[in-house]
Amino acid sequence: MTELAYLSIIDAARMMAEGDLSPVELCQELLARIERLDPTYHAFIKPTPELALTAARAAERKFASGQVESLLQGIPFGLKDIIDLSGVATTCHSKLFADHVAHKDAAVTACLKTAGAIPMGKLSTHEFAIGGPSFDLPWPPAVNPWGGAHFPGGSSSGSGVAVASGMLPAALGTDTGGSVRNPASMCAIVGMKATYGRVSRRGVFPLAYSLDHIGPMTRTVADNAALLQVLAGHDAEDPGSADIAVPDFSAEIAKDIKGLKIGHVRHFYDGDEVAHPDMSRAIDDAADTLRRLGAEVREISLPALSEYATCNRTIIGSEAYAIHRKFLQEQPGDYGALGRQRILTGAGILAADYIDALRLRARLKKKTEAAMAGLDCIITASGLDPAPRLDDAEENARIYPRQCRQPFNVTGQPALVLPAGFSSEGLPLAIQLVGHAWQETRVYRIAHAYEQATAWHKRRPPIKETTH
């Protein structure tokens, strides 16, 4: 049972192709696990067992007739509930959208369905991907399986929890200021925010048009590259989508990293902000591991973390308020308190300040590119603290802005997080690897080398099962 729950995408695909695993069996096993675990962990807004089993049977027929159309054929996945799945409500984890049924698949959903993957359901988020963790919404917030009463990160909380707890091997999240990478970091899984424009945003409820990314969340780096492969590509109906060739993201994954040049951005977590000592040590240790693997690691400086954060928050505030203005005018009581407060900030941002933030964005992008010249990638922190308790509102508010993910929403570069150890309390620690625009393949290579040199990704959370 546990083996199936924690099977990687790559292994499951191989077993299915060789006839050693039935997609229906895997689907049923995970649906049963969701039924047992979700009352404790609240990863799902709505499981979709009928859709899942129909798709699993179709995949099984294809395997039986020797048709293997993609690595994702028969692989279960979940969607953060701001991503449309035709015929199912996209609630955005909000009372406001509780009955908002999607009539079409999002572009990413369509990509996964075309690949033969199995839609298992809609996953919890912070309200409209910004307001959480909150206890005043129609659905409870997701719970981190590491520790059992801790914040799983957000806003793609359910995606992080479902993958970490073995309910799903793959999930999609969205990332506007770090929302794929935060739950991936706090749940000890792999989360990738590819280059802005690499993955279509069509059919995903926006938080901030110019910063939103959709990203894959998995338990291993190789799985993540396989999932991005299916999602990436130009979409003429998304004005932010880039018409650029999609490489083989796994092409370099088995190569070593001898001679690759990596910039170490320490001042983000030991200067601009000061990380929890366990986190700081884990990142420094990871840089040493990369050195031992043959990479040339040297410390570099980027602009101050606060400049990126101000830029990111001003743009999110302005764009999110423009999207929500009508709802805030007409149905303010249908929001949770935290979501409403965060979105409302945009009401006070002047147009000139928004434009200045966009001008600052161009400057920060240029300075970041200059600092990374000649490097293959940079290593830095993702979050600065291990997960706080979910019910500790004060601590959650304190750590909410303490993070190093926003810079790469501002610059649009690919940024991946992966497990890098555990705190003295047993909570996940993570590192972030950031590449040049369109160089996801190089990021995956370095991440995979680090992952294989450590054993962090092999640890499993202490799951509590609900007994009926």
């Binding site: 110019s210 003429a236 109906e237 004005p239 606060s306 400049e307 101000t310 830029c311 928050r313 001003t314 505030g317 203005r325 805030l328 005018q329 007409e330 303010p332 009581g333 409403r340 407060q341 409302l344 900030t345 945009g346 009401a347 006070g348 941002i349 002047l350 300040d353 434009i355 200045d356 933030a357 966009l358 001008r359 600052l360 964005r361 161009a362 400057r363 992008k365």
Partner: protein, 74 residues
């Protein structure tokens, strides 16, 4: 900002219902916005353009591509 100015802004923003139901929230939001604005560097030169600007080529290219995708194939 005094109470009259805040009230006038609330009316302009169309947020009277929210202000009546949840006093204090708009003031907090305005404080947050002010604090953000204070942190934006002001040494930008007028020639520093925003990160994304209207691009006629891109705009028409996207428009034609989207239209072509929507039209049924003959």
């Amino acid at each position: 900002m005094d109470q009259d100015e805040t009230q006038s802004l609330v009316t302009t923003l169309g947020l009277s219902q929210l202000a009546a139901e949840r006093p204090g929230e708009i003031e907090r939001a305005l404080d947050n916005a002010r604090s953000l604005a204070e942190r934006i560097p002001r040494d930008l030169h007028w020639s520093d353009e925003p990160a994304h600007v209207f691009n006629a080529n891109l705009f028409t290219a996207n428009l034609f591509a989207a239209k072509a995708q929507q039209e049924p194939h003959s």
